[in-house]
């Protein structure tokens, strides 16, 4: 069988399964999720050794540190996946939820019912936890899923997929409700994104190159997660301790994640007092400062930032820094250079906070909190299938709701249109 036929077969099986999953009871879906969690814990050692083999191969192949960081799975990571599945099981079932049912002057009652999208295709790189998260969110939202993970995580993904299938079977749901593409052939992706008859939406998770290629080739909607060039802006009226704490956490808590701060903006009025302290703290942790001309005069050992630095998602121990006039300049800089992922302001000023919230055009906008909070778990979604930097459909962390749609329902009593 050639790759096109194989993918069409996977797609047709997903479409058929999606009809059953859309109608599945909440109990059956939850039973499956809990059985998956149980199986993950039971097979922990098996998962870890599969992952260790993946990591060893990745290191030998010379993958960069951020990639290895994402690939690596610990015992804690397995437990976190299992807990994630249990959290999704504990979430309310969004399918069939009826909202906004209102009586209209004509006599009809009009409302909305939440329904699954159908078949979701997930294309991701070397993050094994995505396999479990994606399976859980797709299933709970009543969708069938086709998962295509990175070849670097193949062993671990296959081991996780086996746990997922075991859970589906235990709950009497079709195994084909979650399928992992079993071929390493890269052409599989091209087919997956171009089968509107079988796939309703694609969620790519990975590098910008992958996502841009998919967006270009896709013949179905794509929930895009481009890069995370996240900003922290220290306003004139910032609390000093809070500014230090937030920049520290946003930049250094974890270097390789999309909600890590990559750029620091500082109001001129506090640049000579606050910036040296912040820079010293970052440099003490090994973070390289690439600054504007003004930063260079304030921060010892800073390197000059180029225009490209302000657009960069480093995923490394580097941060770009710019001194700006105030909140207007900060908003303008962010709306120009940001990837519209997550931005934070540190301020005690009411008007500055509200203007930043309203006018910054990013998927998450924060006041006095670390950008690292931009995450489905932290937002209470139970898990996330991705962080959308699009404005259309879902924006920011995408959980259950982002994988559903709302249809209109009308309850009448024989009404006709006048």
């Amino acid at each position: 069988m050639d790759i096109r036929e194989y993918m069409a077969q996977v797609g047709a099986a997903a479409r058929a399964a999606s009809r059953l999953v859309a109608r599945a009871s909440t109990r059956a879906k939850n039973d499956a999720l809990l059985a998956m969690a149980r199986t993950l814990r039971e097979r922990r050692d098996e998962l870890l050794s599969a992952n260790a083999a993946d990591v060893a191969e990745a290191r030998a192949a010379g993958l960069d540190a951020a990639m290895i960081d994402r690939l690596q799975l610990s015992a804690k990571g397995v437990e976190s996946m299992a807990l994630g599945l249990e959290q999704v099981a504990a979430l309310p079932d969004p399918v069939g939820e009826i909202t906004d049912l209102k009586r209209r002057p004509s006599g009809i009652q009009v409302g909305r019912m939440r329904v699954p999208l159908g078949v979701v295709g997930i294309i991701y790189e070397a993050r094994p936890n995505v396999t479990a998260d994606a399976a859980a969110l797709c299933l709970k939202s009543g969708n069938a899923a086709i998962l295509r993970g990175g070849k670097e995580a193949l062993r671990c993904n296959q081991a996780i997929a086996a746990c997922v299938r075991a859970g589906l079977t235990a709950a009497g749901l079709p195994e084909t409700a979650v399928q992992v593409v079993e071929t390493a052939d890269r052409a599989a992706v091209g087919h997956l994104v171009a089968m509107p008859e079988y796939v309703d939406v694609i969620v790519p998770r990975g590098g910008k190159g992958l996502i841009e290629r998919i967006s270009k080739e896709a013949r179905v909607p794509v929930i895009k997660h481009l890069d995370g060039n996240c900003h922290v802006y220290i306003d004139t009226d910032a609390d000093e301790d809070m500014a230090l704490r937030i920049v520290d956490n946003a930049k250094t808590q974890r270097l390789g994640t999309c909600n890590t701060a990559e750029s620091l903006l500082v109001a001129r009025s506090v640049s000579t007092t606050l910036l040296p302290e912040i820079a010293a703290m970052l440099q003490a942790k090994g973070v390289e400062i690439r600054g504007c001309a003004e930063t260079m005069t304030i921060v010892p050992n800073a390197k000059p930032a180029t225009e490209a630095d302000y657009y960069a998602e480093y995923l490394a121990a580097v941060i770009s820094v710019k001194v700006v006039d105030g909140v207007d300049a900060a908003i303008a800089h962010i709306n120009k250079y940001s990837s519209q992922h997550t931005e934070a302001i540190v301020t005690e000023n009411y008007t500055a906070a509200l203007r930043f919230l309203r006018e910054v055009d990013s998927s998450s906008v924060m006041v006095n909190a670390s950008t690292r909070f931009a995450d489905g778990f932290e937002y209470g979604l139970g898990a996330e299938i991705g962080i959308s930097t699009d404005k259309f459909h879902a924006r920011g962390p995408v959980g259950l709701e982002g994988l559903t749609s709302q249809k209109w329902i009308v309850l009448g009593n024989g009404e006709i249109r006048q």
Copy 2:
């Protein structure tokens, strides 16, 4: 200036205006809408004579009856446009609305803020009222709009666009917040749908050919409105009078609209009692019946339906009819043949009603009401920019909400991620 340069200029102006409109006060937007309504009423005779010239030319060119019906504007139509603008002014401003603000265990408060999409491109055919409706909905939702109407309605559209500009100017908003493409060059559409730097979403309104062409060429998201092959299913437990009344209204109240019923399904158990009566009523109104073999034996003068008939959106005095086993067969038939627009069941049976509501995969699903209610005004949206037959983003009648997105906001007090 060539057409590509012209469209890029229109796009750049829209992008610049979108920033101002996104921040515009509710009062300014409402003032503009009310001034537009006033101007439409003042220039009513001018609009009607522009429309009369359009209609005369369309008749001379031999356009079909459904097209002429859509093109035609009456004094009542002008008043209805003006009322539509006033209704949109009276609607709550969706921009900046904050919902679901909840405190998380970490201490941060997480919520969502509704924001405009940016620049909306509308491509439509010969319905002059779309110009005013689209302008109103885009403006109120904080978006800039680029409107490209059908050449058949050019005179009337230009007259309406002048009223829209007058309203924007009166309220101190940029005229470029709503631009009408001034060229008849068809290449304008190709450029409009392929400028992601200037346009955030395309809403095509027109024939299937136009929409399919746009979907194929588009490099930005498209809110698709394909055809309306709407069904009415008469269940075993239908109230007889209600069944007659609803089929009559759904099929004959207006033949040329997308929410008109094009297919009638009748449960076998009531086919010999109810179908003759319904068919006689339709035939008396000049509606041709194209039926299945069973229908042919029940309805005098019925013609045999082909497979293509069950997929057809006639927009004419024709209806396809099929006798089915019951609600299961009706749901299966609809999910196969329907364009996923609007379907109605007539029944007194609780379980049949709920199953139909849950399992029919269309944008509007109704119990005991006419399909003709699938409409933004009837649903209370104030107006509609289209009826989406997609599942992604907006589904069914699209009003203000469908033209916005929600970003996440986080209100912190110095919290950092653990």
